[in-house]
Symmetry: C2
Subunit: 451 residues, 2 copies
């Protein structure tokens, strides 16, 4: 009669199976540990924000990304909805606008805007500068396509309240150190300063009102190549100006933009000192997509992945929209889902840290003995040991219990009958090769610890 | 001109400051570790579900709890909205229903329904029985009031695919063990079996169609007391029936409901064996609110908290709504926000595990030396050491840097001038008492490790 209820998550959303979950949980713990060890303090903001916060004053491009949440209860009463609609017979009713007014909340689409709200509210009670990290899901109503999800994690690290380049050093170092903690020592850090590009444009005689368009073209360098960028620039800003701009941007040394270059080089040297990581370079074409960056921008790349696996920059005006004083800030983020793609392709992705044993129940009388063994194993402080007691019917034939042990990934199954129990012994069955041994408890514990 | 953009989270939602975040993160790690060590495997489902999943066939009480997400893009075009509205001049337009049709997704309000969907989709590829845990936020559009949040965490542990009472033992034991891991050994576990109450009602001559109403009254015992419950029952099911029911429920032993009582006692004995925890008892008035429970129900209480700090039960019919075969299941959950209330009142809540040092920068030339010291400290494998480098302007006067160190919770500030650097020394300032010492690096590291 009615449509069947779907068992898949909504399009663009994902469920995570145990192996993936464990990898994700371990990765989040590692990143948190690295950020925390470098003096960043964890904050968390609500997943749901007022639409006014998400839309800002202008709305703009972000609006399309937002999952909007409908008003509830009285706010959605027939009277209220009817009032919103107005006179339903009038011509040219803007139904879209009416629908918009039925929503009052939305899911956050990044962690930067919530940080700006957070700092605007609590900044006066926080250390200044404030070193913060925030790890959590964000939601974007993007077109679904391979590798693009509508729910994904971000791992942001930010320093709010200083325009010192030391903040760039700390932010980039924390992210580099996180990658190092995963054994990814071959990450390349690419840096630029947007004001350097603006200054080059001014030197090339490109008027200010064309800078934004030119930036968007320059940012496509990776995707379309230098020739097409040059062609598009010529159309947008003129032939001579393009030639001049290219020359200026390529001659990084000398008279042009000395201050910005000195600053970028200080950042690079600082990160090298702070992490021992050497793979950093300036790329004058790097712009990063977001329009809120005001100075330094940076990106993290890895040979196994086309595109970036992290990025960030300086955004000195973000808290302005909340009406407070201008607050300088610098932040970066790890592309968590891309990092997981890299980690899950490694051979050690599925290996669990410790041993897993499954206790089988030969007969109902043996349950007490086996629960006791489980309890003693759990208290033996064996690192990462998993002690799984078969949770089903004991009347289940032993081959069903053995299949459960195998399917749940156990290395050993443990079993005992009355004779073994009377002598405080356990039969240990090695699932990988079928070996069986009857052992006293202490020997069993020692064997699980040693392996 | 325009309204200011709010800096507070929406009503009923929360931001979390660093101390609270650290407590939350540590609690989640502890619960995950305990669940995992007992053989439960972590799964994660999407925060967003199809409305059809959340509403089920009936809709009903849950509908009011759901934060509904509006359709997007083409689905919300003026034409589509106009078509939903129909002829706007017809009488008695149900605006509420029209508004309802503008939403297609919603935020999950618990983790049990998503588990049922998950198991309906992937069950055939999973071990059977399947021991799962899922920790994450859920959202409920409840009236905001003290201690009630619209976004809060649940920590669910479930066993799907068996009706054996061994599942109840494993689920309750995992939750008891989690409480034990927080030092909460004085948790009381209260159990009942709903079918036991139904059987008592049948014996008392209460017709089946009055059982649900009677259950709701009995469940209020904690809140309104035995006399009022008796009065309400008399009105609902009759005087003699109430007296009979009370007598039957109080006489737990004997002929009545022997099977259920034996089963509950087996569960109690099993949990005692598996955890060493003795505080378990049967309460024949315990019903738990959710209507999906079909057998055992249980609740966790703590002397410092009125009401439960966790609960669960057996729900053998939950996967039915997804059209699959009937799948027995048993699950429970920790009241995470209530647990945190208890933990945050303890004296050790704010104590960090390790030492925090803040490296101050005397002058720009000293930055390289200090970054190097930071790097060496981070690599010295000192447990839980936090190494914070002052991230602001070096031109900042030293008293500003010292204030930063104090405000960020550092135990020591570290500083060096050219003379110290030349001799590989660091000046260590104890923020709690002002003591200063000039130390070689190894002595510094040893002092941070020992303290």
């Amino acid at each position: 009669m009615s449509n069947p209820i779907p068992t898949a998550p909504p399009s663009g959303f994902r469920d995570h199976m145990p192996d993936a979950c464990e990898l994700r949980a371990r990765a989040i713990e590692t990143i948190s540990r690295v950020y925390r060890a470098r003096g960043f303090q964890q904050i968390a903001t609500s997943a749901v924000e007022d639409l006014a916060v998400l839309l800002g004053k202008g709305g703009g491009e972000n609006e399309k990304l937002i999952f909007k949440i409908m008003k509830r209860g009285e706010k959605l009463s027939p009277e209220r909805v009817g009032a919103l609609l107005g006179d339903p017979t009038r011509p040219n009713i803007d139904y879209r606008e009416i629908a918009d007014q039925l929503a009052d909340l939305g899911l956050r689409f990044d962690l930067t805007l919530p940080l700006a709200r957070f700092y605007s509210k609590y900044g006066s009670t926080l250390p200044r500068p404030f070193k913060a990290f925030n790890i959590g899901p964000v939601w974007r109503a993007e077109r679904t396509q391979k590798g693009r999800y509508r729910e994904f994690y971000q791992c942001d690290v930010d320093i709010v309240g200083t325009d010192a380049w030391a903040a760039e050093v700390e932010v980039i170092s924390a992210i580099v150190a996180a990658f190092q903690a995963f054994g990814l020592s071959d990450v390349e850090v690419v840096l630029n300063d947007r004001t350097l590009v603006y200054e080059a444009m001014r030197l090339a005689g490109i008027p200010d009102d064309k800078h934004a368009a030119a930036c968007i073209i320059i940012d496509k360098l990776d995707k379309i190549g230098i020739d097409k960028v040059r062609d598009e620039l010529k159309d947008a800003v003129g032939h001579d100006e393009t030639a001049h701009l290219q020359q200026t941007l390529l001659s990084q040394s000398g008279a042009f933009a000395g201050e910005q270059l000195e600053r970028l080089n200080s950042v690079i040297n600082g990160v090298r000192k702070a992490t021992g990581h050497s793979g950093l370079r300036i790329d004058p074409s790097l712009m990063r997509g977001f329009d809120y960056y005001t100075g330094a921008v940076f990106e993290f790349r890895h040979p196994s992945f086309k595109g970036s696996i992290g990025g960030g920059g300086r955004y000195d005006k973000l808290t302005e929209k909340f009406g407070g004083p201008q607050t300088p800030a610098c932040g970066g983020s790890i592309g968590f889902e891309r990092l997981l793609d890299i980690l899950s392709q490694r051979s050690d992705a599925r290996s669990r840290a410790g041993k897993r044993v499954c206790l089988l129940i030969q007969s109902e009388e043996m349950r007490g003995y086996m629960l006791d063994i489980a309890q003693r194993l759990l208290r033996a402080n064996i690192p990462d040991l998993v002690v799984d007691v078969y949770p089903g019917e004991v009347k289940a034939r032993m081959d069903i219990q053995s299949k459960y042990a195998k399917n749940s990934g156990a290395h050993f199954s443990l079993i005992a009958g009355p004779d073994e129990a009377n002598s405080d012994l356990i039969r240990r069955h090695d699932i990988s090769n079928g070996d069986e041994k009857v052992l006293p408890f202490d020997d069993l514990a020692a064997s699980l610890r040693a392996d």
